[in-house]
């Protein structure tokens, strides 16, 4: 049982990173991406490829750190590749284009034999543990929160508020859109690396569009734009399926139906999610500003 709780807690950590990073793109910068599972996959597969094929015999934790770095960089590169052309598009068109890219990434992985292709990628060492996952959770959150409390973060938020006004205030909006997109993609890549070294097995079907939607649901549930909300949303939606199991297999099978209903109901009745754009501040992140 305690192992079960530990596994679940670890998964929570992975999804917190995914949710916070997607929130940077969707909620904070206002660029609606539906391809987050794609970046997750890029990070997971590239990190796993490192540890299966290239990892030198050094400390596991050091190797994991390198794997996470590789996950970040490769996903961020994918973010540049996808972001630079797509971020010129607005709103719903951007959503569809990122969805398309997310699927293309998956199809490419499916066709790469060296990383398992349609059979799945096996033999990944089990290097992740609660400590490393939550260290990255803290890094991600501190990074995003500190970014937001500086001029670059404000510039990112201004794009969500009014892109034309932001341009007119001398802000290079495209640069900041790309920055948010690439950082978000990078952290999703880290989540992928940690996930790969926990599950030890990767399959392209584990990164379908459905997962992009689930991560999206997490940040909508918590409140688009709120980092606190993303954390809570990620925890709730990671634990919920397990809770549903207590009600029997039938209820558990209806998980996705419940999720989709939740998505619709949230949009109809509480589009701001639980937290809206608000944050719970901890002294840890620095004092709340007084003017």
């Amino acid at each position: 049982m305690s192992q079960y709780i530990a596994d679940l807690a670890l998964l929570c950590g992975v999804f917190i990173i995914l949710a916070v990073s997607l929130n940077l793109i969707n909620g904070i910068c206002g660029q609606f991406s539906l391809g987050h599972a794609g970046f997750w996959a890029v990070g997971a597969y590239s990190a796993a490829a490192y540890s299966v094929y290239f990892a030198p015999p050094i400390l596991d934790s050091l190797n994991l750190l390198i794997a996470c770095g590789i996950g970040f960089i490769s996903a961020a590169l994918a973010g540049v590749l996808i972001g630079v052309p797509c971020l010129r598009l607005r709103g719903d068109y951007l959503a569809i284009a990122t969805l398309g890219f997310g699927e293309i990434i998956r199809i490419f992985i499916m066709n790469m034999d060296s990383i398992g292709g349609p059979r799945g990628f096996t033999g990944i060492p089990k290097w992740s543990n609660l400590f490393w996952v939550y260290l990255w959770v803290v890094i991600t959150i501190v990074f995003v929160v500190n970014l937001l409390r500086g001029t670059h973060g404000r510039a990112i938020i201004s794009i969500r508020e009014d892109e034309i006004a932001a341009d007119s205030m001398g802000i290079y909006t495209f640069k900041y859109k790309t920055m948010a997109f690439v950082i978000g993609a990078g952290f999703a890549g880290v989540a992928g690396a940690l996930f790969a070294h926990d599950s030890q097995f990767l399959h392209p079907n584990g990164f379908t569009f459905m997962w992009s939607v689930i991560i999206l649901l997490m940040i909508i549930l918590g409140g688009l734009g709120s980092v606190t909300g993303s954390v809570i949303g990620a925890v709730i939606l990671t634990i919920l399926p397990e809770l549903l199991r207590f009600f029997g297999d039938t209820v558990s099978e209806w998980r996705m139906v419940i999720y989709s209903l939740l998505l619709i109901i949230l949009m109809l009745w509480r589009p701001g999610g639980i937290f809206g754009k608000h944050e719970i501040s901890l002294p840890f992140f620095g004092k709340k500003e007084k003017a």
Binding site: D92, A95, S260, L261, L263, M267, L268, P271
Partner: protein, 301 residues
């Protein structure tokens, strides 16, 4: 002509024929996407599910013993009614909340149908019952084979499109649809009940998708709850390719996409089949976001 070139041309003809067949299906589904987008600027993600629902209504009607000529309109009406209900319950309340909330709602609706379908009907594909005797006959022209099914699909699509063309361009309802999509407020001031027109547009679009669902069920001999996902997305690509909101654009986009897919798969690789549509989508969004038949517009500041 050498033997090799002869074969090449037969191959080419076969792929083109397959492409047109598949493209007609994309076009039928894309029409609904484009009409709904044209009228309320919503990317109706759930449109692929109307196609799936049409296929299942057709499947159950035929399984119950109904003849095809009755099952076909039943499927069209069935998915049309579902679409009207969805529009009334889900889309209407969110219509003025902005494009992204509407898009998310549509996404939720789409997933709801897929997974509810899986849980209620079962995820396994069901074999579509054999409808007619001549169904699987093939006709041979040299080395080119044409199946009855292909003829049925292409001709049905053609008939439905002519009907749609007439409806949109030569009836009062069609005029009201065009007026609503051009300027909703002005249409309302002219006494058009735009809610009714929007409902009708959903019905019309979904029934075309439903028709496509039955045709595909017959063609591939199988139906399943997830069958709407990929064709739905591809039909969306087709709509964007032709110029979203433009009815002839959807037809052109569908055919181009169907042919492009079959040519690439036939002459090159098959494993990237589903990536082609998304690749085309991204190219068109980057280089001509208004689509092949669209006009470029500027954002008002």
């Amino acid at each position: 002509m050498s033997e090799e070139t002869t074969f090449f041309f037969y191959d080419l003809a076969t792929y083109l024929l397959n492409g047109i067949t598949q493209g007609s299906v994309y076009a039928l589904v894309a029409l609904g996407y484009t009409m709904v987008y044209g009228i309320i600027k919503l990317i109706n993600f759930a449109h692929g599910e109307f196609y799936m629902i049409g296929a299942f209504v057709g499947f159950y009607c035929i399984a119950a013993g109904m003849p095809l000529w009755m099952a076909f309109p039943c499927a069209m009406i069935g998915s049309g009614l579902v679409a009207i209900t969805v529009e009334r319950i889900v889309y209407r309340p969110i219509r003025y909340a902005g494009r992204i909330p509407a898009l998310i709602t549509a996404l939720g609706t789409s997933l709801l149908f897929q997974y509810a379908g899986q849980n209620i009907i079962g995820a396994d594909p069901k074999a579509f019952p054999k409808v007619t005797d001549f169904e699987n006959q093939t006709y041979k022209f040299g080395e080119l084979y044409i199946s009855t099914n292909q003829i049925v699909i292409i001709s049905t699509t053609f008939i439905l499109m002519v009907f749609l063309y007439w409806l949109v361009n030569h009836t009062r309802t069609g005029k009201a649809m065009r007026a609503t999509s051009f300027d909703k407020n002005a249409a309302e001031l002219m006494g058009i009940d735009t809610n009714k027109i929007i409902s009708f547009t959903f019905f019309l679009g979904a029934s075309l998708a439903g028709a496509a669902g039955v045709l595909v069920g017959m063609y591939y001999n199988s139906v399943e709850p997830m069958m709407g996902l990929i064709p739905g997305l591809k039909a969306f690509v087709a709509a964007v390719l032709g110029g979203i909101g433009i009815i002839p654009g959807a037809v052109l986009g569908g055919l181009v996409l169907g042919i492009a897919e079959n040519l690439v798969v036939g002459f090159w690789v098959s494993t990237y089949r589903d990536a082609i549509a998304f690749g085309i989508l991204i190219l068109i969004l980057l280089f001509k976001p208004s689509g092949l038949l669209g006009k470029n517009t500027k954002e008002k500041v």
